[in-house]
């Protein structure tokens, strides 16, 4: 892996770039920046593209980086960099017996990235085996078979990648892993969890998605605990299904294991950002114990084996309704060839009554429209108010307590795997726990 990327003057442009090229200097080299009678010696550091183009960043011998303007300065090469960015070779373990190990698939994100100590840049390029070296305690829990499937940022995830991940997980299960852990960026981890839930319906072993909210370069990272707990759950729970395993609270060291179709990132930055919505976690895990909230489900095995349907369509959309929402948006989707949309409506599942006629027209033309609630918590009920009833009459399909994101993923999956006329039926039925019939009281609201 080339840690520094393609350019030997990463991030430099304009004046600074020209002066550095003239001086024959590369990032990592020791340079002297002189201003008449004063000069500074340090190692040239890369910069971020958008920064001021007259400044160079150098690392002083005391470890500090400083920026110096080269407008009135001269730059001189003192000594070239020596063997700096070399990664030690990593030996992958070989020879795994069935059920003895957990497969760890890395897709990218904060948990699978590491800081480059020289520059501080966080790069999504960590080998899955490096995760093992980050958390030596893993050895006491399970052997790990690791692979880097992809190395992308969470926000770059798309339906085609869900399919790739699903195929990779499936083949690890076929090969005999006791469970699979998928390291993933947190921003879209909930979507991928839902995608795997549908693609691997009926799976007989645990598939656990794990991420981190604090990068693993920092001593306080949640990556250690999350990874440890995820592997423990994958190896020891015998609980089939797809889950997200992340911090249960702001404190270390307990993680919550949440069903993949009922999980949502509810905070931009907290460790315990992932919450079970309209359900509760199936278990809490820490280094020493695994506590199921529902003892009866422990060791539950789904009959009939896995129904592997890894395809996802990119002709589904998810739209949040807002006051002032225009029908143009839905019309545009239909014109562009989208086959259906999941709406995150208001309250019990509404959009403006002014849209009802237009929605009815779209439905008649074969465009699929599903209703979820932007409240996230609770279920839609379109029989309570007139607008709801009219939307139902117009052909909008209510999706109960399904999360908007889960509904979107399910629609993408259904469109790729079922004939169009069956999609409404698929969407309405509970396949992997995405729809619950009962709304269980979860205590005081905070």
């Amino acid at each position: 892996m080339c840690v520094l990327g393609e350019s030997r003057l990463e991030g430099y442009h304009g004046l600074a770039y020209r002066k550095l090229v003239e001086a024959g200097v590369n990032v990592g080299d020791t340079v002297e920046v002189s201003f008449g009678d004063e000069s500074f010696v340090g190692r040239l550091m890369p910069r971020v593209e958008s920064d001021d183009d007259s400044v160079v960043t150098i690392k002083l011998p005391n470890g500090y980086n400083i920026g110096l303007s080269v407008v009135d300065a001269s730059v001189r090469l003192v000594s070239p960099a020596g063997g700096l960015h070399q990664q030690p070779p990593v030996e992958e373990a070989v020879g795994f017996g069935a059920g003895e190990y957990v497969a760890l698939i890395s897709t990218g994100g904060t948990i699978a990235s590491r800081v480059e100590y020289e520059t501080g840049a966080v790069r999504p390029a960590l080998r899955a085996s490096d995760l093992m070296s980050l958390v030596p305690e893993l050895e006491g829990i399970s052997r790990l078979k690791t692979q880097v499937l992809m190395s992308i940022l969470s926000e770059d995830m798309k339906p085609a990648y869900w399919e790739r991940i699903a195929r990779a997980v499936y083949s690890e299960l076929e090969a005999g892993a006791a469970g699979v852990v998928v390291a993933h960026g947190t921003d879209t981890m909930g979507y991928t969890a839902a995608a795997l839930s549908f693609a691997l319906r009926g799976v007989d072993r645990p598939i656990v998605l794990v991420g981190s909210q604090r990068s693993s370069d920092r001593p306080s990272s949640d990556a250690y605990t999350n990874l440890l707990c995820a592997v423990k759950f994958a190896k020891e729970s015998f609980r089939p299904g797809v889950y997200v395993c992340m911090h249960a609270s702001t404190s270390d060291p307990t993680c919550a294991v949440i069903p993949g179709v009922k999980v949502r990132k509810m905070h931009t930055s907290r460790r315990d950002a992932f919450k079970a919505v309209n359900t509760r976690p199936v278990a809490f895990v820490d280094r020493d114990k695994l506590v199921f909230l529902d003892e009866s489900s422990k060791g539950y095995v789904v009959g009939g084996g896995v129904v592997f349907k890894p395809g996802f369509s990119d002709k589904a959309a998810l739209i949040e309704y807002y006051p002032g929402f225009s029908l143009d948006i839905l019309n545009w989707l239909a014109e562009k060839g989208y086959l259906g949309v999941v709406l995150a409506g208001t309250g019990l599942g509404h959009v403006s009554s002014e849209l009802v006629d237009g929605i009815a027209r779209l439905r008649r033309s074969g465009f699929l429209i599903y209703m979820t609630s932007q409240c996230l918590y609770g279920r839609v009920n379109m029989n309570v108010y007139t607008t709801g009833r009219r939307l139902l009459a117009a052909g909008v399909v209510p999706l109960g307590d399904m999360l908007p994101e889960t509904a979107y993923v399910k629609l993408s999956w259904a469109l790729a795997n079922y004939p169009l006329e069956e999609v409404d039926g698929v969407m309405r039925s509970n396949l992997v726990g995405e729809l619950s019939a009962r709304s269980v009281y979860s205590g005081e609201w905070t």
Binding site: G63, Y64, N65, G67, R114, P219, S220, T250, T268
Partner: protein
């Protein structure tokens, strides 16, 4: 001797360095608590910082206490830092200019690994903002190497060695600090004290620094010829600096003497593996050991070859090598202490027991031994630390970080951190420092304290008091009040120097009063024309009771009288004694004084009454003679 100082001064900014929380300390009970662990992370080259490794080995659990009004998700390491506080940066840059340092053109915030739990993130955010410059001490210049802006750490509440739980409060975490590091140009303990004083004076000139204990902390780097660099952390009082420097120099010299003696006796210090000696103490009468055994521990020991007599070697006044060893064992392995052969028989350990230990360990006459009473793993860890440190004794001084003690001595704290501990804080954008910013800041630097001093003198403050006043920690309050009531300069200076000092010596917590409270009190006092003694009483009342400033002033002025009221009483007495005055002139003072005191009824001190009466009398007789 080479000494360098690192002065850390809290800045009095409105907000913290990387979030919008206030910088004032929290009072009362914390609102919430949470628990974390920290891990030493490997650098890109697979290197773990020794100081970080050391903390990880200790396996601590950190409990953090937060306050809704003082801490947010940033201090909890639950939200990325906000942008660098520009107010703090500007104060730092002004300080750089006063020191003649060269500001950087762009500020890059770094992360410095610290995993003793004092930072929730596991690192301290710090930025180098200027380089070079110096301060003058007479004819000598002490060079400045760097000026950094950094976030203060969390406040330690408690540390339980047996459970490994360390508790911190988060209110102080993130308060901006300026760190000024001198070059190792200082060569005597006295010079160290003088340099710290001078830097403090420059900082105070900015009027934007916090006051009170703990708002300024000094770290001191000391090395003697042939020694090693020792960093002594956490010297909170200026008066302690020269003491710490001279203790540390003596300690290093002591270690060098020990090295020479050891080298004469042995080629290398060999230490045996730990041996279980519990059976040798089955019938012991030693309470220390009995207690340790009762709580499930054992007695473990090592033979240290050629070390007999050196445990009691005095490395510094009052500090034997044995007690140094105990510091390491305590810090690293968390044992209560250790027992060495040079102090036995003692603590109820008999000569027979000593002999038995020596037999079992195979000690010759020149060999010494060290015992630890603890549970096996802990004891073995402690003894391996002891073994390592004894072996190092033949090398002389070990480079390390030590903690200053209130008596000026120092104790082992942790290994010296290496260079692997610093990397950029990628969550905070760089900040460009332009020449326009610098010239704007230059014109905003407050005038030197000497200027204020001469202004005070021109306001009829004695030169001695003026000198004290500009040294006062209440400089900001003094200046604000001077702008509003220059006529009260004398009163303000006396109250804000001598009186607050006396009050805090009496244990009255005036230092903890916020500036705005003291300002309100002084304003009220000036308006009511209170006397100095009354102001002091009002301060005492506000600091020691729950009374508001208004209530305190009311109470004081009802039990005492103001200058205006006193003058009115004096005027009326003079008025009704005109004949007496014209008849007896200055000799009328005595009978008049008696009359006035009757009316004052003890509500003002006699000295003030007599001073005012004398003055009024003089005015009156002068006026009369002028009219005549």
């Amino acid at each position: 001797m080479k000494v360098g100082l690192e002065i850390h001064q809290q800045l009095d900014t409105r907000e913290k360095l990387f979030c919008a929380c206030p910088t004032r300390p929290a009072t009362g009970k914390p609102d919430y608590e949470f628990r974390r662990v920290l891990r030493a992370t490997k650098s890109e080259l697979g290197v773990v910082d020794p100081a970080a490794q050391f903390e990880e080995v200790r396996r601590r659990v950190y409990v953090y206490q937060g306050f809704r009004d003082h801490t947010c998700l940033v201090e909890m390491d639950e939200e990325p830092p906000h942008e660098l506080n520009m107010e703090a940066l500007e104060i730092g840059l002004m300080c750089a200019m006063l020191l003649g340092a060269r500001p950087v053109d762009e500020v890059v915030v770094m992360r410095k690994t610290v995993i003793d739990g004092s930072n929730t993130s596991g690192f301290q955010r710090t930025a180098l903002i200027a380089l070079g410059g110096g301060i003058k001490l007479g004819d000598k210049t002490i060079g400045i190497s760097t000026l950094c802006l950094e976030e203060d750490a969390a406040r330690l509440v408690s540390s339980d060695a047996s459970t490994g739980v360390v508790t911190y409060r988060l209110d102080r975490l993130g308060v901006p600090l300026i760190e000024i590091s001198t070059k190792p140009d200082i060569t005597t303990p006295e010079e160290a004290g003088a340099a710290a004083y001078e830097i403090g004076r420059i900082l105070r000139r900015l009027r934007r620094v916090k006051r009170g204990l703990g708002t300024i902390r000094q770290d001191i780097n000391v090395s003697v010829e042939g020694g090693a660099r020792i960093e002594v952390k956490g010297v909170q009082e200026l008066s302690l600096i020269s003491k710490v420097v001279s203790f540390e120099a003596k300690r290093q010299e002591g270690l060098l003497r020990l090295r020479e003696e050891l080298r004469r006796r042995v080629p290398a210090v060999v230490v045996s593996d730990p041996v279980d000696l519990t059976s040798e103490f089955e019938a012991t009468q030693s309470n220390t050991i009995k207690q340790g055994l009762k709580s499930g521990g054992g007695v473990f020991g090592v033979r240290v070859e050629g070390f007999s007599g050196y445990f009691k070697f005095e490395v510094a006044p009052g500090k034997r090598f044995g007690s140094e060893l105990a510091d390491y064992a305590r810090q690293i392995a968390g044992v209560g202490g250790l027992i060495h052969s040079d102090e036995l028989p003692a603590y109820g350990v008999t000569q027979e027991e000593v002999d038995a230990v020596k037999r079992k360990l195979g000690c010759s006459d020149v060999d010494g031994f060290v015992l630890v009473v603890a549970e096996r793993t802990r004891a073995e860890r402690a003894l391996s630390v002891v073994a390592k440190r004894c072996a190092q004794a033949i090398d002389g001084v070990v480079e390390e970080t030590r903690a200053a003690q209130p008596d000026g001595t120092t104790r082992f704290l942790r290994p010296m951190p290496g260079s692997a501990r610093m990397y950029p804080e990628t969550d905070v954008p760089y900040v460009r420092v332009t020449s326009e910013t610098l010239s704007r800041l230059k014109s905003a630097i407050p005038p030197p304290l000497e200027e204020l001093e001469s202004r005070l003198v021109s306001l009829k403050v004695s030169s001695e008091l003026a000198k004290q006043a500009v040294e006062s920690e209440w400089l900001n309050v003094l200046e604000t009040m001077l702008a509003e009531a220059p006529e009260a300069a004398q009163l303000l200076c006396s109250v804000l120097t001598q009186d607050v000092r006396e009050l805090s010596r009496e244990g009255v917590g005036v230092d903890e009063l916020p500036d705005h409270v003291v300002l309100e009190l002084l304003r009220g006092a000036v308006r009511k024309g209170l006397l100095r003694d009354q102001v002091k009483q009002a301060l005492r009342l506000v600091a020691t009771s729950s009374r508001s400033v208004g209530e305190a002033l009311e109470e004081i002025s009802s039990t005492t009288i103001s200058l205006g009221e006193l003058d009115a009483i004096i005027e009326s007495v003079i008025d009704s004694n005109k004949q007496l005055i014209s008849a007896r002139g200055a000799e009328a003072f005595k009978p008049l004084m008696g009359d006035v005191m009757k009316l004052v009824r003890g509500r003002a001190p006699g000295s003030i009454v007599s001073q005012r009466l004398a003055q009024k009398l003089r005015e009156r007789t002068e006026r009369v003679s002028a009219q005549g």
